[in-house]
């Protein structure tokens, strides 16, 4: 029932606010953006003092912006994994869940409500940091980042996937075990992405194939790589690499795969929680 889902989602948001989780996240995000802004200003001023070509200037500003988004992506990954890591397991351990589950509410509504509440917090966090980075680039250096909306959508899907895995893990695993497992899941994706990248650069088909297989098993990192590819100016796509962007371009089909993967994990989570002994 939708009203039950919204009631649980509201409680989740209320709790996040009351426990100062949102405040802490915003404070840390503000600190990050401040450092980024100072860096952007320093680089921009330095470029102004030196005689550099327009392309060099634009490339440097672009690289700094993408580096900022790369950091945002990493911070958001941690946020998406850790925020809901005890959403289910912690409440089962403390006995809170027994009181909620005895009410006339479907367990699926409890789980989806918690998922929705956490998703909203993660989405706002990601939006604010991305918007902050892009706004700083725009205000200080006049940089207009292309494909920003598409890249944000891919990053949001990446966070949604990780958050969903974290919620699903909580239906069966203890809080600490779940945190370790979900970060391990992301770690597999991360290293798989690098294997694929290096395989692509060095021309090693087996490494590239391994990376693709890993991306199918754990798809979050491939979404960032696709997003970072979209962020590149066309000229950079043709002439070179940056440390933060993809050299091998993931297939757009991976977006559908990741979306389906997220939905499948959410369904598994609902079923797992429905049969969990409380």
């Amino acid at each position: 029932m939708m009203s039950d889902i919204l009631t649980i989602a509201y409680l989740t948001l209320f709790e996040a606010r009351r426990k100062r989780i949102v405040a802490a996240a915003l404070l840390c995000g503000a600190a990050f953006l401040t450092v980024f802004a100072i860096g952007m200003l320093a680089v921009f001023n330095d470029l102004g003092r030196r005689q550099v070509t327009f392309i060099e200037r634009q490339t440097t500003i672009y690289m700094l912006t993408v580096a900022g988004l790369y950091a945002v992506n990493f911070l958001s990954v941690l946020f998406a994994v850790l925020l809901p890591v005890d959403a289910i397991s912690g409440e089962i351990d403390s006995g809170v869940m027994q009181t909620i589950a005895s009410k006339p509410i479907r367990r699926s509504d409890v789980l989806v409500g918690k998922w929705l509440g956490h998703w909203f917090v993660v989405a706002i966090y990601l939006l604010m940091l991305c918007a902050g980075v892009l706004l700083i680039g725009r205000l200080i250096a006049g940089h207009v980042q292309q494909n920003a909306v598409s890249a944000f959508g891919l990053m949001l899907l990446e966070m949604t996937l990780l958050m969903t895995v974290s919620v699903a893990g909580g239906t069966r695993l203890s809080t600490v075990t779940n945190g370790i497992a979900v970060l391990g899941f992301y770690g597999v994706a991360f290293i798989g992405g690098w294997v694929e990248q290096i395989g692509g650069i060095a021309g090693i088909p087996s490494a590239r194939t391994l990376g693709i297989v890993v991306s199918l098993i754990s798809p979050p990192d491939v979404l960032w790589r696709l997003g970072s590819y979209l962020l590149q100016p066309p000229i950079l796509r043709d002439i070179g690499n940056t440390p933060f962007t993809a050299t091998t371009v993931p297939s757009p089909l991976m977006v559908w795969w990741a979306g389906g993967f997220t939905i499948a994990v959410l369904i598994v989570a609902v079923r797992s929680f429905a049969t969990r002994q409380l």
Binding site: D4, T7, L11, R18, G95, S102, K103, I105, Q277, L278
Partner: protein, 333 residues
């Protein structure tokens, strides 16, 4: 305080649910009925055979030592855990049925909730889960906060509540929707004597308005003071069910300090009852069926020129029943 817990004389709905579990009893179908409910966790048997029935409006005590399976039994009735075998119905519906859960209140043992909420916010949240809103919900919250004596602490976060205050706000959340059936798992745990008295009064009010209460408690004095019937659970199995009325009219123990005592006297005394025992030089105990027998014993002793220094009749307490039913093989939990 009558009527503080909920409106009196509420019409009770007819029960649906599995017809095979609708053994009719006087006064209507059972509110709780189970047949061979069993729960195992791996090789561990938590509940072996839960077979019992609780009628409408009963205050039913559920007694047993630690680890007897009481909490697991309640969790099965609330569908928090799935039975491994057996059948059960609550409010005439299958275990876990949402329509039945809408009419059930539950206070878990060691009630905990998000400690960032205030007492009032906690009750508001639970009311919304029962689809209560607006003025009726706020009015109900105020009534319950007053009833559990937490008006002063209503807008404080429950993080700062004492254990007793947590139990009381937990009790209020169990009653927020004016339920027909309330499960109370150790409701007086952590409460001081005044808090216990308050819980006892609330249970009495629930009885007056016809609410069924399933009470799991270690405090036998509380159970004795509040319950209509009790079930004794041993190693996951209901071993004895009795009414408290039965307990008060059952067997009376007579203890007498008399002199002289000989074998012939003891044999003759056994005509009045059973279990005649001699303790020390001049103490004799005998179990008789009724208090009315006591004057006859006194007259008989006087007629036999036996000196009576003391004569005392007392009924068996629930604690003694508990020890007898559980047997001597039980060890403290």
């Amino acid at each position: 305080m009558n009527g503080a817990i909920g409106p009196p004389d509420r019409l009770r709905q007819g029960y649906g649910g599995p017809p095979e579990l609708h053994a009719k009893a006087e006064g209507g179908p059972y509110v709780i009925e189970t047949d061979g409910l069993r729960k195992t966790f791996g090789t561990t048997v938590a509940v072996d055979d839960l077979s019992l029935s609780v009628g409408p409006g009963e205050i039913f005590g559920f007694l047993g030592p630690n680890g007897a399976g009481k909490t697991t039994s309640i969790k099965m009735l609330l569908a928090l855990v799935t039975p491994s075998a057996g059948r059960g119905a609550v409010l005439g519906r299958a275990l876990g049925d949402r329509a039945a859960r809408a009419r059930i209140g539950f206070l878990p043992e060691h009630f905990r909730f998000h400690d960032c909420l205030t007492g009032r916010e906690l009750l508001r949240f639970h009311g919304r889960l029962h689809h209560m809103h607006g003025v009726p919900l706020e009015s109900r919250i105020d009534t319950l906060l007053a009833r559990v004596d937490l008006i002063d602490a209503a807008d404080r976060r429950i993080r700062g509540y004492s254990k007793g205050m947590l139990q009381r706000i937990g009790l209020a959340q169990a009653l927020i929707h004016d339920p027909d059936l309330v499960f109370l798992d150790e409701p007086t745990s952590g409460l001081d004597p005044l808090g216990r008295l308050l819980v006892r009064d609330i249970i009495s009010e629930l009885r007056e308005r016809g609410t069924t209460v399933f009470l799991n408690s270690h405090l036998l004095g509380e159970v004795e003071a509040t319950c209509d019937r009790v079930a004794f659970v041993k190693q996951g199995r209901v071993v004895h069910v009795m009414s408290l009325t039965e307990m008060t009219t059952a067997c009376v123990e007579v203890e007498m300090r008399i002199d002289p005592i000989d074998e012939a006297l003891l044999v003759a005394l056994s005509e009045f009852g059973g279990d005649v025992t001699r303790d020390g030089s001049n103490i004799v105990r005998i179990h008789v069926a009724d208090e009315q027998v006591v004057p006859s014993i006194a007259k008989w002793l006087v007629a036999r020129e036996v000196n009576i220094y003391a004569l005392h009749a007392r009924r068996k307490s629930l604690e003694e029943w508990f020890v007898d039913v559980m047997g001597e093989d039980q060890r403290p939990g």
